[in-house]
Symmetry: C2
Subunit: 218 residues, 2 copies
């Protein structure tokens, strides 16, 4: 019988214990998995593997697959609202602020396609998870009032027409970017052009800015 200790064996690396890091890795892997396959199609085992965490940890930290999804979704909303607030549009000239918002929204969807897929998945489930989130509601209010403020200032200086509902405007700004991205695969077939080509993206963004500015023009 030989010794168990091999001369060349590296010192058995002590497992590093870091709850926050593990949680973060799980959330990151879950975001990718749910974005790619939806809530129904996402696999808990795959998330655990990608996160290099034990599956048990998912249940320890998030209770259930749906609990995990809810956290992922909530974080996704907080992320986009936080980024919007960082634009500080309250201090930008109205017309320019609106253009900046349209551009930001389009770019955000482009760079964060998971956001779109997560929201779609949540709507398939009739928003049962988002409904429970108080944080999201608080952030949403801030967001709507930001656009409201831009509109009001624009009307005051005469660059925008009066009577525009900020919610309808918000929905429209989101819609013209969101639809383009979420349907980029079927859209590329239906319209027989690569909607994700660099030129196509630039053209679409220009069109969107134009659409919104014409909409609010006096």
């Amino acid at each position: 019988m030989t010794t168990d200790i091999e001369p060349t064996a590296p010192a058995a690396k002590p497992r590093i214990r870091d709850a926050e890091a593990t949680k973060a890795r799980i959330l990151d892997a879950a975001k990718k998995e749910f974005a790619k396959n939806g809530l129904g199609g996402g696999r808990v085992d795959d998330i655990a593997e990608k996160a290099k965490a034990n599956k048990r940890m998912i249940y320890h930290y998030f209770g259930s697959k749906e609990g995990l999804f809810q956290t992922v979704l909530e974080n996704a909303y907080v992320d986009i609202r936080t980024a919007e607030q960082k634009l500080k549009l309250d201090h930008v000239e109205p017309k320019q602020a609106l253009e900046k918002l349209v551009r930001f929204t389009f770019d955000y969807y482009l760079k964060n396609p998971e956001f779109i897929t997560l929201v779609n998945s949540e709507n398939l489930h009739r928003a049962k998870h988002l409904r429970k989130s108080e944080v999201v509601k608080v952030y949403s209010r801030k967001f709507v009032s930001m656009v409201e403020n831009i509109l009001e200032r624009g009307v005051a200086t005469g660059v925008f027409r009066a009577g525009i509902d900020p919610v309808q405007l918000n929905i429209t700004i989101a819609a013209i970017g969101y639809y383009y991205m979420t349907n980029r695969f079927t859209g590329s077939i239906v319209f027989e052009r690569d909607l994700m080509a660099k030129d196509a993206l630039e053209e679409r963004l220009r069109f969107n800015i134009d659409t919104i500015l014409r909409l609010v023009a006096p």
Copy 2:
């Protein structure tokens, strides 16, 4: 031991054999199931049950779950394109034709929410099923040229400005209705109003018509 024939038993109804009817029932049930739960979340057993067909028949007629989904999706596209063609917009005054199209699109999404969910599901799968469909491509071309025709006539009579890309216009008309419907659940939470209330729907449609007409105005 008593006889197996109960006196009150109805004459054992002879199974009616009707391939077309069975196929239709399966497709109808599948549309509902996939619309509600997506391709990944939809259950073949549930489809068979709702269709009052044997599961074996699904595999007999459609080969696989994905084969079934593909047929459902293809039908959904053919349905909307057929309905659009029925509008006969080529014979309507340009401005009115555009308004009619915006209204139709919005109403169609409202009355056929399955269409939206099916398209979303297909985009989650990177359009791998639609890609195979030749019919859809033919119908799509007709659709784009219809809007192109409206635009050209409008420019000729001076009611529309020149240089608008019909594809961009098409996307925008679809987007402002589609986004509103597909995100009606999360949207109702984010904007803290019932987006599906009768008043809200009417207001949104008016806003959409306004958006498009301002977009094409000279």
